[in-house]
Point group: D2
Chain length 344, copies 4
């Protein structure tokens, strides 16, 4: 939809029409009292919005169709559902993933894994490769961390969710993990999205801290269009002017995404608040708003955590959160499932 | 707390200390490996943070004590509770205020008021004076609108919440309304805050669209310090880069405010989303996060509304929202009260 | 321009067309491959964008014409120029307004006024009524401050720019001042905009800290449509996530506003940075970007300022800034005028 | 600097002190009227800010020392200067890099390269690997594009600036390019920063669209700490609520970065505005604010550009921009150098 300037000449209008028609599209002219508008009919991927805006007499171009396809509810009306190592995602059941920010040691991780399982969590998170703002901060245990995660799955039966940071790490991480997490800073790392799109592992895609909901959907389209349909979207807080919390939880994104896409939508109340004392309230809010799952940070001894201590719950706080989330889930006709497996 | 530059000289350190001591305060020197820090002990309102930052050798000043007092939980640990025409605010009960954006006619308002009452709403909102972005848009019915609101209270028993836009309107609006609403655009209209602080009417203070939670508390301090302790804070969405919704609901603000202040905290899911289809989900989330009440826009015929049609629920949608919010309230051990009054 | 949903039925399309035509407007149908679009032709103020969005089958509505008129370059192609007590605004000459944040005493103001004049400033700013975040902070000298400002004009010949905060203050402030300043927090205080629109004083309208350029133009439309055509727009920094500076100077707003409106555009580098050390660089940038004037904070003794000390220049810093700004002005073919008046 | 809660007990204060001392650091106690503060003296990398915030009685922790070192002016007071294929960066001379968003063909690139050279540009930019929001958009010519860029250097003598998107592309891109560009979306792609930090090519590091100036410096620290000291920082606009321009140019970042780091600071007025009509004004502003260089998008036929057409200047617009920027540079005592090389 090309909006012409109010003072556009007939010649400029004709020029814009020719531009469209020369590219194999049809132009549809509409003259208003103030402005003339030209609709473009056909496959608009043949023209560039920005290029049209450079034509003389053109004020701006309004895009009317959505830029993503595979992720849209129009393409697939029913919710995407799938299993992760026996756990169902995207159904009426609400899933809770928990664990430490970083894998720090075998002891720390196993202690946490047992706590997750006992409290009613369904999957274990933990970072082996860590994106850190400072090059001098702990960067994760790497492969050794992945092996500890795999051992924790062996012992507790909990599927493993862990971050992958670069295309060349994908085969290694995919070998050990059940879900490949793409961190907020990498939401538009397209080479990485391509790489995980070609694996058979589910992908948990975190929203970038200044990405719109639409851009998150476009990022998921990179994974989907590479053949991997098992994508979980995750709201984790956006960056705003507010400094009372680490990020601002965009709770609106939950119903917005649920209405626009069939993919499951999770929320991370630990990163979206940055403070333990607010995590339970936001976890309740997320489920009330329609989220399909949660991913939270817990640590047996937050004061000793090498990263994210301020937003990590203690196991007993987490157990209490699970109880509260269950009550909310039931109030809206959903459930938080019990475990069906035994400890190996 | 004055943080000196790493290369500050002894003379500059001595200068900063003198500056503090000359103003009747005590300075407390602390030398770190990299930097020297000077604590200021005493009534810091005698010095200006900004002024100190102009002194030679000073890098910046960090404020440690909170800038508000009467609004803080440290000043008053227990929740503020009060009655509005028979309705209890700030207690374990959750309050629902509803009504049209603008009072458009007697018929429209009375029809809406009955719908609010039947659906289980506890107070009626409606604008007689409207802040509009455009000088050419409908600016409200003014005093005639206030009289219609008062009649609706007479008939339905619902207390009235309505906006006041200027100090000189305060006596008139206070004559008709039970709660004086301060709109987001006026959150830092200090003359208006003074004026409502001197009335005996409760005040519903909306957060400015780019105000921090702390600034909202500072604005409430203007009302409180004028002697009016009946203040309701209201989150109504903040302005961010996201365009999928009209504003971004800052759901974090609910637990943040509840931890920092004793004042009741409400949320307006109509303005914070801007789209009817998301209002119920965000109303549920607000209550799940700990909000003490909701204020929502409803209209018997949204397609004919003179303002805010896209975010106004139909009465039957509102009734459904009330039912869902009740379920959430009960899940967290709170209630949405039934009406105790009869129609006059 | 009504954009229908992809799955809109023929009945829904017909319904939307009837809606438009029933309000005396013409509907213009355009069927695309994916979506149907209905153009609205006529005076669109008869319909509400939001109301149409509630109709069944409607996805969203795109506004194509601008919502402001008197402020637009389409309405008046030539720049607005006017005199303020002998000083020309909006011409090829660049104007510099300077002075303290607050009038603190006769001595402080007169000392500053002389410094402004000597350094080559063209008008004197100073606050008598101060909007302060805290009710406990200094709120300005009020009428006594206005009288000191008037005396400073008498002595130095500099026109006076000072803030007005409430409609009832307008007559008093207009009696003493040459330019009525509307502060950022009051940009959408519509009662105040109405009141200053009915005076004969020029108005310096500061952009709200989260207002778009379009909203600033809409606010100016309130003043213009009340008959006052002497409006200066002023960029003063917007609120973003960046904390290195007090606000983020939206330098883009300078060419954006200059292309969309005929009104003069100023920039306030003191508030837009919040730190003296950056003021000169941003003053140069503003003029390089096309600003018609600057308003800066200076104080003879910033370390003693009761407000805004950290962003107030000393007189000698200001004099240096004026020299640098002159060089930039000349590089782009503009001038910073010398004084033509003598001290009384 | 640990700030205790106002109601912290003696036991909690003692606990926080022990925590610090047990980690080999010294604690420095300071009791205020309202609050107690504990300074931490020693290598604070041994403790986690977040972990301390979980201790009982602790309100929050304030960091006083900067988190980056090699990038800071305190570490290196003098500006970093270096040559890129005969062109000096970081000196008193201002550098202009120009070229198309994408390399589209040999003809397009060579035509543009000649235009850059003739207009007085100093280096040629052009993308061979393109980060695109949509997986369906043109993703760049890849290696063939790099070869065309190398040929353009051969012919015009202009050094080549081109983006690298993934660690595994680094050797290939480094083989052909003089400057490796890290795009805004990859500013915190730490694996990529490591990889370019180990090459001998200069790096142009673009600020992420929601990154603070400090985070940009932290990202540069990743490159510097890997041994590569030839880093150029580039402001390219940040994401805000304003929609009149594609991004908001953070002009403040120029003096902020210049005061905090010795690295050269460039600005990209094409991305920071998104509209050709504003590029020249912002280019002038950037140089007036103290930028050391510019990177701009030009295209011989913007209406045919496969990407970023709306913000690409035509060659004659670019030549005019260079002339205007020269005048600004001279006004502040800097120069835009002429070419010293002949066409091969």
């Amino acid at each position: 939809m090309i909006v012409m300037r109010t003072n556009a000449t007939e010649e400029e209008i004709a020029g814009a029409i020719s531009y469209v028609e020369n590219r194999g599209l049809r132009a549809h002219l509409s003259r208003g009292a103030e402005r003339t508008v030209i609709g473009i009919v056909g496959d608009i991927r043949r023209v560039q919005k920005e290029a049209i805006e450079t034509l003389p007499g053109v004020d701006h171009v309004v895009r009317i169709s959505r830029p993503y396809k595979l992720a849209s509810r129009e393409f697939q009306p029913d919710n995407t559902e799938f299993n992760i190592n026996g756990v169902r995602v995207g159904s009426n059941q609400i899933l809770i993933i928990a664990g430490p920010c970083s894998v720090e040691s075998r002891e720390q991780l196993l202690e946490t894994a047992h706590a997750v399982r006992e409290a009613g969590g369904h999957a274990l998170r933990g970072g082996a490769f860590k994106p850190r703002t400072s090059p001098y901060a702990f960067q994760g245990m790497g492969e050794a961390g992945l092996e500890i995660l795999a051992e924790a799955r062996q012992i507790t039966g909990l599927p493993i969710v862990t971050e992958v940071m670069a295309p060349e790490q994908v085969p290694l991480v995919a070998k050990h993990a059940d879900v490949l997490q793409i961190g907020a800073r990498n939401m538009q790392n397209y080479n990485l999205l391509h790489a995980v799109g070609q694996t058979e592992r589910a992908v948990l895609l975190k929203r970038g801290m200044s990405a719109t909901a639409e851009e998150l959907l476009m990022a998921s389209e990179y994974v989907l269009s590479n053949g991997n349909r098992r994508v979980i979207l995750c709201e984790r807080g956006i960056r705003t002017f507010e400094t009372a919390t680490r990020n601002t939880t965009d709770i609106n994104a939950v119903p917005v995404l649920k209405s626009q896409t069939h993919l499951p939508v999770f929320l991370d109340p630990s990163h979206s608040t940055g403070k333990t004392e607010y995590v339970t309230a936001i976890a309740r809010a997320a489920v009330a708003a329609g989220a399909d799952g949660l991913i939270v940070e817990i640590h047996p001894h937050p004061e000793d955590a090498v990263s994210d201590g301020a937003q990590s719950m203690r196991p007993e706080q987490f157990a209490d959160m699970v109880r509260q989330v269950k009550a909310i889930a039931e109030a809206i006709g959903r459930t938080v499932p019990e475990h069906k497996r035994e400890i190996a």
